[in-house]
Amino acid sequence: MSVRTEPRSIRILIITVAVAFFALFLVLPLVCVFQNAFSKGLTFYVKTLQHPDALAAMRMTVITALVAVPLNLVFGVAASWLIAKFDFKGKDILLSLIDLPLSVSPVISGLVFILLFGAQGLLGEWLGDRNIQIVFAPPGIILATIFVTFPMVARELIPVMKAQGNEEEEAALTLGASGWRTFWLVTIPNIRWGILYGIILCNARAMGEFGAVSVVSGHIRGLTNTLPLHVEILYNEYQFAAAFAAASVLALLAIVTLVAKTAVEGMMRREH
């Protein structure tokens, strides 16, 4: 027996505890979602998902992610370049400000946009005069989602870029490459798995956000509902099987996310 391991009995105990805890808190909810989703059969399941409101909610969810993720990606790349490559005053403060949305309650995240863009908000009158609708409309949903997923890409990229060091960029510069060319030809390929990883996590959160979006959505069926809100609506209409069917799409999305994430991690590991 190696000195780095425990007696068999303890090993089995630890594994059992780990697996049991895991089953109780992770596997059961997952099973529960799918079991309920298919409780009325496959036809009902398909019909639920083909309902125009469900489709509209999916479309809204996809559009939200399509806007939020690229914006946060650009931000994440810029911020990680800034933080990994430069030394400047207030870097620590900037870092914690970037993480700030993670410790803000989703309810507050939604609320602040109402306070800013709502009819009674700071900019409400100005926007109202110009017939620009932000909250209770797609832009509000997108903004709240961007807020909530704000640090997701940056958090993944900063350590990757830090670990990468500056040498390759410097090498490219001494070889006569311009700043942009260095960025595109050297930096981006080096962090591409980190970028993908960040996108995957950011996307999962963007598509799944409930609290913040719920505050700013207005819950207009077919117009301002995202998939998580659609789940809630169905649930409140006592259509439990349908609610879980919609939820299962999100759970499925979560599983796809995890598979993609694991694959990306594998790629990252293989490259090092």
Binding site: E168, E170, A171, T174, L175, G176, R181, L185, P189, E271
Partner: protein
Amino acid sequence: MSIEVRSIHKSFGSFKALEDVSLHVETGELVALLGPSGSGKTTLLRIVAGLEKVEEGQVFFGGEDASIQKVSERGVGFVFQHYALFRHMTVFDNIAFGLNAKPKNLRPPQAEIRARVSELLKLIQLEWVADRFPGQLSGGQRQRVALARALAVRPKVLLLDEPFGSLDAQVRKELRHWLRRFHDEFRITTLFVTHDQEEALEVADRIVVMNKGRIEQVGTPDEVYHDPANVFVLNFLGNVNLFHCRLDDGKVYFGNIGVEIPGVASDNARSANLYVRPHQFQITRDAGTGTSIKAAVAYVNPAGSVVKIDLKRETGEMIHVEISQAEFAALKIVRGDIVYVSLRDVTYSEYQI
């Protein structure tokens, strides 16, 4: 192309990395920047390359002020300590990078790039790895690829940061000789950083010894080894014995033994520190003329090109001596023998008047 560095100052936060450093490297010279870690040698190299900005001072290439040029315009070939090969590109693409990165109107045609890369691969004797990725190469191979990549753009000067720092002893030696041969053939002005005195002594035309952000001495390997400008240089380049002694009447006194030493002027000095390299001693079985020191043999290591012997004086002081294998064979010294040591020469001396 010659390199000139004029009164460079550089600090990182409150740490002064370089203080008033000036240096001139002739066209076609191979110069080593030698010093312990933290001495500022890498910083100086990076400043020459333009990888580091300076607060004060200038860098000239061939008499032209390069300080205003960006790193990408300086036309330097820089080889990084950890090679900094682009790990997502093949060896071929790595070497071709500098050529491909040129603006469209200056970029050579692809055929020319291919020819140039092939030529370089041949030069570094690695034609067969062209399609591999850096991760699949050994350390020595990576080092050579990094060099080829730097050379591809036909740099005016070649700058190498600890080029052999992370290689095994054997590969290191080979590459060292290869670099020397390469330089003799192409005569590109080259500046390289090392903390290994043996490497600097063996490869460089001239050595710049640095310490704590200042240049201590610039000279040929012979000069810095045999005629060090100060104690730091002396200590840094090879082992040395230190003797504290009294001077009187033209003689040097260790305890109560007076020894006449060639080259030690003693006009009106009272005490002195003598620095003697291990090979500057002579060992004899007999006391001879009485200008030698009596000591017991404490340790003998005959493995190597020279024989290393540790002697213990009656005062308890240790003396490290190196003699040739031939001398050793003649003397037949074993541990515990009593021998007599005399000084052939002194490398460096300090006096108190």
